[in-house]
Amino acid sequence: MPEIKVTPLGAGQDVGRSCILVSIGGKNIMLDCGMHMGYNDDRRFPDFSYITQNGRLTEFLDCVIISHFHLDHCGALPFMSEMVGYDGPIYMTHPTKAICPILLEDFRKITVDKKGETNFFTSQMIKDCMKKVVPLNLHQTVQVDDELEIKAYYAGHVLGAAMVQIKVGSESVVYTGDYNMTPDRHLGAAWIDKCRPDILISESTYATTIRDSKRCRERDFLKKVHESIERGGKVLIPVFALGRAQELCILLETFWERMNLKAPIYFSTGLTEKANHYYKLFITWTNQKIRKTFVQRNMFEFKHIKAFDRSYADNPGPMVVFATPGMLHAGQSLQIFKKWAGNEKNMVIMPGYCVQGTIGHKILNGQRKLEMEGRSTLDVKLQVEYMSFSAHADAKGIMQLIRMAEPRNMLLVHGEAVKMEFLKGKIEQEFSIDCHMPANGETATVTTNPSVPVDISLNLLKREMALGGPLPDPKRPRTMHGTLIMKENSLKLVSSEQALKELGLNEHQLRFTCRVQLQDPHSDPDTLNRIYTHLKSVLKGYTIQHLPDGTVMVESIVIKVSSSAEDTSTKVLLLSWSYQDEDLGSFLSTLLKKGLPSGLC
């Protein structure tokens, strides 16, 4: 039986970095190639030596598919393609291809900032890697080679995020990447065909959570920012340049407009213009509202949000600043944080997760005294808030996607083991399908139904039509009779007459015969008559004839009666039938073995 194998090198029962290997129909595909920001050595990248010891990734892999631009999904790509060595095709959507290098460059800056960083790639490597990328359009089937095809679907989550369907012959796998099933301020909800894949590989970040409505979180966020501004405090929001930063900008912009607020909002590092440029460029990837209003007013051209200059941080009075990077581990956000941390009127809002070793991680865990370089200590007096604005499907959303795609099997990645276990139970119960959750390095194997394509002759189809019944429909399988011919590696279903003709064969009739003993103390013709009457009453709607040559015929079945020489009341019935009427023939023999009813005349 054919098998599909899925082996996560990363994101198997964790949310470190996604890298999932799929073997389907003899093809090997890598889904995402992410990096773990918590390490500063080779452990931040997936270990490709598990795939091949000699760095021959190009030979082993048929293609790499990247779901979206977050570094835990694409950060190891230049390492893989330029340092380990991979020359094969890499697929991602147009926006992902455009934005990926920006984030990779941004991260490169941070690594230069750190000491003891090893094995990190250069700008040239990022470019050379991006040159190997083949862009994908939504809903367009791309032929990777003769047998392997892929198709991207909208995933929400961040600009350009895609789910992808991988197909070899009749086998298929869908990988969701990160997705969300509810539209937000700037993006739409994920959507997919009812494509019935053999496996649906889904992220499960919020596997056990039914998230409160986005509106609540937004209201909470605005309330906190507003309160802080009102009491004259400064609000720092550390963000990564692209993604939820834009969502929060729209939110604040609208709120400032409505409330007629005067405190300045700044966005650092010039990435605003760049980000806005990409949102404009890929406006079709945003949600309906933004696309509609775009004609009147570009949602990403902000009236209240201005570019930040490093000296503004010292300005007196309230302000809101979006600064990069998002985990407070270097650069501008860290510089501002150090300046503002000592004042309890100020506030920092962390809109996402921070890895260990960052200031973000420390303050989220409640540390209030931070050691700094030069033996100084920083007293954190400002208010620390955590508000996740990441766009992932919650438990309800995941179930909704399963209903949409109707997979035959389910496989969970990108989540914590305990939460996966819970969701797995729910899925198996509700949909009666198998749900796998392999750990990193473990392989989940799913056997698929072999599907062999067969041509069918037009004549046979026409004859089937002539018999009446509904028109042929690929979604409603039904039985057809014909002769299967294997000729030159192809299979053909034809009518038996055509098969005979094509193969130059003569037709032979095959008849089955059978003896049945019956106790009936009558003469042979009487017995035959009794049988005729009996059958007539039992088999309504069949052609039953009592022939003058002393036989009864039911369709092609011939019945004769003779008596035993020793005992005339023991009759021997001879039945014979052609193979087409085999069912009826065996039914009759069974029926007659039971004897004739006594009331017959």
């Binding site: 009075g317 650069g331 200031i359 420390k362 370089e373």
Partner: protein, 865 residues
């Protein structure tokens, strides 16, 4: 271990041992183990330094409800502690080792099913196996069978770890034993340590007869297993054979002669059986084994055989030219042809063959079945077949050829092989043929961007290797010009970029047109001067920023020659310069702006190194004018690399101004050794200048000149930049400057007095304001508030803020540069990745997780970034 860490460790152990609490972050345990490894490597005893660990291990091991991650960590930690003989002895006395590595215990507790625990078991044991006592423990506990079983574990990670461990036992103790008998060189030992990243015992372990016997038993056990299990029981179940082939390749590549011979002796029969079985999935791993066996094995008979086997697929596809016509008899080409008929295995085999061809051509001539030039011809023929322009001369193999036609994998692999073959002996005569096929690939509409990129790379490499280009006919040159012109306006930016990069690379290659003639750059020789610059100028307008950046770099390379010669600027070049300044001020992307600054760096550098600085040609004055603009715009750029490059330009100006002066250390040599590996370093040579004599006036005027050029402003703005690499570079340059113009040493007071009169202006906003603040010249908050409101009401960005004028020397002395350098050389996460910070994080996170008043929905969920 410092005292603070030692005092926190017991509570951390408590947190980790408490099964009720989950581990806060998936990297914490790994990092904790890193720290312990460091401590051990530094020669300390973990057991002595942290006695609490022993209790921790016993507690965790006995608590079957422990988190599997913590258990795995504990197993590895135990291994680390038992890596020294003393540690081992102590753990054994406490009977900890037996408990920790007791398989039955884990199986009965149902924890063995967790792959994370199996990995911990393997890695823990592996750390332990650094001395004979550990080997005895391993043999006596009968772990070998369990380990061999794990070699085919369902988890890829476990199976791989088991393979590594088996290789470690065989290789490590082989070395130990041979060291015991005839001494092992230090470097070999170090190599071993490096390869395995493991903690090795520092003292050479005492070798006894028992050790030798135990080792022999282990070798026997393992090699017998390899022999038995290599042949698959069922043809479809190849997992075990694959794993064993991987292990063999690993072992044969590293094993010394006695072990290698023993292994080969034991498994040769099984290997041959496997070869004749003809499982195509095993072909590649088998080839790996052949390559590995050959790697350390330099006798000509084996090498020659290996070479013939490797070249066979290429020979079959391109027609028997490489191995001679009698290849049929000895190489079983029938079975190879059969395998080549399957598309997948055909492509894999031909790729392995191609990857190895460059190395093959470098082996001894006696070993090669044919001269290297024939291999080049074969690769060229293969490329032709791939592009569908020729079919194989061997009719038998047309079926095989069908598999490689249009295959991107084979094309890329063949192009890479061809690129590397440029340096093989005696192949230069093939350049014309190589050119023809590469131009054909460049012209082919079906070539994908990567294939085009590789074709360009191959061209450059061949041109570089062939200094005499007279073999290239005019027709070929014309074809090249045409194809380059066509590709320079390709629809795909990837192709345009490769084309532009190619033009830059060509300009950097120096060739002689025919023997004895003048040397010129390859772009002029091949494309005839008139094509390159117009194409590159066009590319400055490209819609893709990467292409614009490549065009700028290529232009710099093209013009370097004329800069060096001090040639007068053409109209064309002047126009390019104004376009570049436009890009620096207006381009929205960082790459072209970085390239612009580098363009001026190379112009400044090529000019100043070859013409006297006083020569005031129009070219020099334009350059100096531009430098001023670049310094002011570059240091205000948003991209950190533009800023770093700008500081490099400032450095060149400082070098020029002060290199003649006493005390100036060019290129801040003092810090060079500390430079970060990814820091940008220009490749010029630096020399320490020891000029004597005082040039007080000279210093003063040079300093005034440097201020006027905007160098000081660039350095000061860099100093307060939020991007650390920028601030660090600026800080180092400022210190160098301070040492030159106003050293704090007593003898230089004269010079100081004169230079003190040179001043610079600090604006009341931006970096100027920050510098003023550091200098303690800041305004009161009230005054600033007034400024800000004035700024807002006027609406102009440069509205508010008065400027102040300060003496350069005073600024340099009052900025606390040395302290700043101290802080800046530590990285931003220097503190936060320290062991103390890690321990604190584990403690506070466990506190936060169990905090009773965490509101629902407030829980920090690991999501994405």
């Amino acid at each position: 271990m410092d005292r603070e860490c030692a005092s926190l460790l017991p509570s951390v152990c408590e947190v980790l041992a408490d099964s009720g609490r989950s581990v806060p972050d998936d990297t914490s345990l790994e990092k904790l183990l890193d720290w312990f490894t460091e401590l051990t490597e530094a020669g300390g005893s973990l057991l002595e330094a942290c006695p609490c660990l022993l209790k921790f291990i016993s507690t965790v091991v006995h608590n079957t409800a422990s988190d599997p991650g913590v258990l795995s960590f504990t197993l590895r930690l135990t291994g680390l502690m038992a890596a020294t003989e003393d540690g081992f002895k102590m753990l054994q006395e406490q009977s900890v080792l037996n408990q920790v590595f007791n398989l039955q215990h884990w199986q009965e507790a149902g924890l063995w099913d967790d792959p994370c625990l199996r990995i911990g078991w393997i890695q823990g044991l592996r750390s332990t196996l650094q001395h004979p006592k550990a080997l005895r423990f391993f043999v006596q506990s009968d772990f070998i069978d369990s380990l061999l079983q794990l070699q085919t574990d369902t988890s890829l990670f476990v199976a791989s770890a088991a393979n590594q461990m088996l290789a470690h036992i065989l290789l490590f103790f082989q070395k130990v034993l041979s060291a015991g008998s005839n001494g092992v060189s230090k470097t070999e030992e170090e190599d071993e340590r490096r390869i395995h990243h493991s903690v090795t015992d520092l003292e050479p372990p005492a070798v006894t007869m028992e050790t030798s016997a135990e080792y022999s038993a282990v070798v026997k056990g393992i090699s017998e297993y390899l022999k038995e299990s290599l042949i698959p029981k069922e043809k479809t179940k190849l997992h075990q054979s694959l794993q064993i082939l991987k292990l063999l390749a690993l072992l044969l590549a590293q094993a010394g002669p006695p072990l290698r011979d023993k292994l080969l002796q034991t498994v040769t029969d099984s290997l041959e059986q496997l070869v004749t079985a003809g499982c195509s999935r095993l072909t590649l791993p088998l080839m790996d084994v052949i390559l590995a066996a050959n790697r350390g094995h330099h006798d000509t008979v084996h090498t020659a055989r290996a070479v013939r086997i490797l070249l066979l697929p290429l020979d079959i596809i391109t027609g028997p030219t490489l191995l001679g016509t009698n290849a049929t008899a000895d190489e079983h080409p029938f079975s190879v042809v059969e395998q080549l008929k399957s598309k997948t295995s055909c492509i894999s085999m031909i790729c392995v063959c191609l990857t190895n061809t460059p190395q093959i051509t470098l082996t001894l001539p006696g070993v090669l079945p044919c001269p290297p030039v024939l291999i080049v011809t074969a690769v060229v023929s293969l490329l032709r077949i791939c592009s569908g322009t020729s079919s194989s001369s061997s009719t038998v193999c047309s079926e095989v050829c069908r598999n490689v036609i249009g295959s991107g994998k084979v094309q890329k692999c063949a192009l890479e092989a061809l690129t590397a073959l440029n340096s093989s002996p005696g192949v230069k005569e093939k350049i014309s043929e190589v050119f023809t096929i590469l131009i054909q690939y460049l012209d082919n509409p079906d070539s994908d961007p990567t294939v085009l990129h590789k074709s360009y790379q191959a061209l450059v490499k061949w041109i570089r290797a062939c200094t005499d280009l007279s073999l290239i006919t005019d027709q070929l040159r014309q074809d090249l010009v045409e194809v380059v012109r066509k590709r320079a306006c390709d629809m795909r930016w990837e192709v345009r970029d490769s084309t532009v990069e190619f033009l830059g690379h060509l300009a950097g290659v120096h060739v002689s047109v025919s023997s004895g003639e003048e040397v010129c750059d390859a772009s002029e020789a091949l494309l005839g001067g008139c094509c390159t610059t117009p194409l590159l100028r066009e590319a400055l307008q490209d819609t893709e920023s990467y292409v614009r950046a490549s065009a700028i770099s290529a232009l710099a390379k093209t013009l370097t020659h004329s800069w060096r010669q001090g040639a007068a600027l053409t109209q064309d070049q002047t126009e390019i310069v104004s376009r570049l300044l436009e890009i620096l001020s207006q381009d929205t992307e960082g790459f072209p702006r970085r390239a612009v600054v580098q363009y001026f760096i190379s112009w400044f550098f090529s000019r100043s190194s070859h013409s006297p600085p006083s020569s005031s040609t129009s070219s020099t004055s334009l350059l100096m004018e531009c430098v001023r603009t670049v310094l002011s715009q570059g240091s205000a750029d948003l991209d950190w690399e533009v800023k770093v490059h700008t500081l490099e330009l400032a450095e060149l100006l400082l070098d020029q101004a002060f290199s003649a002066h006493r005390g100036y250390r060019k290129g801040s040599d003092a810090h060079r050794a500390l430079q970060h590996p990814y820091g940008v370093v220009s490749d010029q040579a630096y020399a320490l200048h020891t000029h004597t004599g005082t040039h007080t006036e000279g210093v003063q005027s040079d300093l005034a000149h440097v201020v006027e050029q905007g160098v000081i402003s660039a350095l000061l703005s860099g100093l307060v930049d939020c991007d650390r690499p920028v601030a660090l570079k600026a800080c180092r340059l400022l210190i160098t400057l301070r040492e030159t113009i106003c050293p704090l040493s007593l003898g230089a007071l004269d010079a100081t007095a004169a230079t003190a009169t040179v001043s610079c202006e600090l604006l009341g906003r931006g970096w100027g304001q920050e510098i003023t603040k550091i200098l303690g010249m800041e305004k009161s908050d009230r005054a600033r508030e007034a400024d800000v409101s004035a700024q807002r009401s006027s609406g102009a960005a440069d509205g508010g803020g008065d400027s102040v004028t300060v003496s350069v020397c005073e600024v340099l002395r009052s900025l606390g540069l040395d302290e700043r350098l101290d802080v800046l050389t530590q990285s931003s996460d220097h503190i936060h990745n320290s062991p103390l910070s890690l321990l604190q994080d584990i403690l506070t996170a466990s506190g936060a997780h169990t905090h009773p008043d965490t509101k629902p929905g407030q829980e920090v969920i690991v999501d994405c970034y």
